[in-house]
């Protein structure tokens, strides 16, 4: 029991410190000089990725202990969601062109757990930031009656073994990209409505596309 309390306290402190680190880095302004801005961007991204990894591993651990129930599914603006994600992406790497698009057929609101879905999508954003040449495109559309949020970059695309693993629903490796994908799949599937279950889709189409569909 004492050990558990100790771990919990350490984790609590670590999360707080990560918030501090991220916010401190966010408060250092860009100054338009490559020598300053590039390492700043790198540091911001690293702080974000570390936070992201920590959160994902904790949530995956929690899931293994009894499943993720989404208590906070509610109506959220699809436009706001896509814009928030795009803005976040821009702030992480100013040199990339980040575009956002909401298809006309997408309703103004959709029901999902915004915090969880955002975490899953940020995961894709971080990945794309590392591989994109110049562009990241974030888009909301309707696929099979579900809301599809996608992140598309202009990289060489996902390697075949990752595409296969996701398509064939195999267990994904527990480190790096694999961990993030596992988490994204977990969150996608926790979204359920009228017998339909959310999905994670990866494919290559003029670059890598990461897509989560929520019913």
């Amino acid at each position: 029991m004492e050990d558990n309390d100790l771990y919990a306290a350490l984790l609590h402190e670590m999360k707080n410190n990560l918030v501090l680190l991220a916010m401190t880095l966010d408060n250092i302004p860009h100054c338009g000089e490559e020598l300053h801005d590039a390492p700043l961007d790198a540091a911001r991204l690293l702080a974000q990725r570390t936070s992201e990894r920590l959160l994902q591993s904790l949530l995956i651990y929690k899931n293994s202990q009894g499943g993720v129930i989404l208590n906070a599914v509610d109506a959220y603006s699809t436009e706001d969601f896509v814009q928030e994600l795009a803005q976040h992406t821009r702030s992480l790497k100013g040199t990339l062109t980040v575009t956002a698009e909401v298809d006309d057929e997408v309703p103004a609101i959709w029901f999902f757990d915004r915090n969880m879905l955002e975490m899953a999508m940020i995961n894709a954003v971080h990945n794309s930031i590392s591989y994109a040449r110049q562009q990241i495109h974030i888009r909301a559309s309707i696929r099979d009656g579900m809301l599809a949020i996608s992140v598309r970059d202009d990289s060489d695309g996902y390697p075949a073994h990752i595409l296969e693993a996701v398509a064939e629903d195999r267990t994904l490796q527990t480190s790096g990209t694999g961990l993030g994908l596992r988490f994204a799949r977990l969150i996608a599937r926790a979204h359920q409505n009228e017998g339909k279950v959310g999905e994670l889709r990866l494919y290559n189409e003029n670059g890598a596309v990461f897509e989560i569909r929520v019913p």
Partner: protein, 552 residues
């Protein structure tokens, strides 16, 4: 673009570095006035003196209260309104639980770790929504319910992005107006869009208010199976079970709620009351004990909580524990008249059970003096006092107390039964009948006559009878509301009687104080406003429904 320059913010976090990080981030958004608080108590102090646009609070605030309890206390005290942004920061490990436990939801949650960017876009979103709802919120706060309702309809039509938010708020407006059927329909409509837990809760609540408790119970049972962490679901389930006299099941529901989230003293108190009703003194003891322990940091702690705990100890034969509860909290209890009354009554009763007649009598006489000076007490406490008086040979005083309780509760079988048992135990069963009959006879007669006169259309005489009934049973919310209702019908029919509205206002204020959640109340308050509006009388703002006890 949201203008942050003129906004004010309060940051609540027990971690100093975090507070300053928030301050820096908010300054970067353009805010110039950012205050800090390290504890819930400090935050309450600040909010009492300053009006903030934005409050950012960590959920975990150390030992005393959490961010959710703080939000509830601020709203309850009327310190923050609908226009204030409340952003809750929580760890991922607590997120789902925190979200499910919130009856009164903050505007948004941020999961730790996060960065300033996300915080900014969340604040942008909340502030834009508050702006869109500003006029509707203002109308609601002023009690202009028809206007608030029209505002919701307008938003639903013109702002697709806020469709569900507007529907949700409209549901609250309809409930506040007592228009439960329309509210049910609205919640049904939302459930058809998506069966989100809050909409299902809203639907069940309106069914309960429409006396369809069986239907509500089945709905809630399904809901809490699917969302076991949904605390308001367990609470409401207990309500509908009590309404059907299923006290055993209600205790189980409350115990489930308490085992998921035991910090709320209101829930612990409720569990104690229901367990006490069920004769489960062990559960009542632990729940009332938890109420008092956790209540140390809560504005919801009331003197009567000490009476509840002390009473359970007395019934268990643990008179020394009963006395200890009072003695250990003497300082707090001496701060209010009701507290002083609680002290004297419970000490006196404990001494009396111990056979220490002289001490018992001394305490009871103190209590009688307090009572004479105007100290108010819950009916249960007055009956305890009556018991003590009876044992001390103060028969007239006992009869007066029982009479007072009975007069105000002629429709409560539970209290009348308790009153009888006091006399039974003293071997004076026949006296009980007399005392109760004498006390209730007149009120019952006035109420019946009033109802009959109203039925026959003689509203002037009906109003006179019912006002008199209200005067004799000033603590019976049903009597007060009946009187108010008939008087309003009179004024509607005959505007020259509009002077009666002053009395109606007082009756409804008192009813709101005594039974803030009574299903008829909202409808009557709304009716008063429309009667006033029809006569061109400007309505006073409704009194905050605090439900606080006298002297606190």
């Amino acid at each position: 673009m949201i203008e942050y320059k003129t906004k004010t913010a309060l940051v609540i976090d027990d971690y100093p570095n975090m507070r300053s990080a928030f301050r820096t981030a908010l300054a970067a958004f353009g805010l110039t006035k950012v205050d800090m608080a390290a504890t819930a108590a400090e935050a309450l102090g600040r909010v009492k003196n300053t009006r903030y646009d934005i409050i950012i609070s960590d959920y975990n605030l150390g030992e005393s209260r959490d961010g959710q309890q703080l939000l509830e206390e601020m709203r309850h005290l009327g310190l923050i309104g609908l226009e204030t942004v409340y952003l809750m920061v929580t760890a991922e490990s607590l997120y789902e639980k925190v979200v499910a436990a919130a009856e009164l939801a903050p505007d948004d949650y941020l999961i730790k770790p996060f960065n300033a960017d996300i915080m900014r876009s969340r604040l942008d979103g909340i502030l834009a929504k508050k702006e869109a709802f500003a006029q509707t919120y203002r109308n609601f706060d002023r009690g202009e319910m028809e206007a608030a309702l029209a505002g919701c309809d307008e938003l639903m039509k013109t702002q697709p992005k806020y469709l569900v938010d507007a529907m949700r708020f409209k549901g609250e407006v309809l409930v506040a107006m007592g228009r439960f059927e329309e509210a049910s329909e609205l919640y049904n409509e939302i459930v058809r869009l998506r069966a989100v837990p809050w909409a299902r809760l809203g639907l069940a609540r309106t069914l309960h208010l429409r006396n369809k408790s069986g239907e509500a119970e089945r709905m809630l049972e399904d809901l809490v199976i699917q969302y076991p962490e949904l605390i308001p679901g367990h609470d409401l389930l207990a309500d509908v079970q009590i309404a059907q006299d299923k006290y055993q099941q209600a205790q189980v529901s409350l115990q489930r709620g308490v085992s998921t989230s035991g910090k709320s003293i209101l829930r612990q108190r409720r569990l104690g009351e229901v367990a006490y009703h069920n004769g489960d003194l062990n559960t009542a003891e632990s729940a009332f004990d938890a109420t008092v322990q956790k209540g140390k940091y809560s504005i919801f702690l009331a003197p009567n909580d000490f009476a509840n705990l002390s009473r359970v100890y007395i019934e268990q034969g643990e008179t020394s524990d009963a006395m200890r509860v009072i003695q250990d909290n003497r300082k707090l209890l001496q701060e209010s008249d009701e507290g002083k009354l609680v002290s004297s009554v419970m000490m006196g009763l404990a001494h009396s059970r111990n056979g220490n007649a002289a001490e018992a009598e001394r305490h009871m006489k103190d209590a009688l003096k307090m009572k004479q000076l105007g100290a108010a007490g819950k009916p249960e406490l007055l009956l305890d006092m009556a018991e003590g008086c009876l044992k001390a040979g103060l028969a007239d005083e006992a009869a007066a107390l029982v009479g007072e309780v009975a007069r105000n509760a002629h429709d409560s079988e539970r209290l009348l039964a308790k009153a009888k048992s006091i006399y039974n135990d003293a071997g004076k069963a026949e006296v009980a009948q007399d005392v109760i009959k004498q006390a209730t006879e007149h009120v019952v007669r006035l109420s019946k006559e009033g109802a009959l006169l109203a039925q026959r259309g003689d509203l002037i005489s009906a109003t006179r009878q019912l006002f008199q009934a209200a005067k004799e049973a000033p603590r019976n919310p049903r009597v007060l509301m009946n009187a108010a209702w008939v008087a309003m019908r009179l004024v509607e029919q005959d505007p020259s009687q509009s002077h009666e509205l002053a009395q109606v206002r007082l009756l409804l204020d008192d009813a709101a104080y005594l039974a803030p959640d009574h299903p008829r109340l909202g409808g009557l308050q709304t009716k008063l406003r429309s009667v006033e509006a029809a006569l061109g009388i400007k309505s006073a703002s409704p009194r905050k429904r605090t439900g606080q006890l006298n002297g606190r």
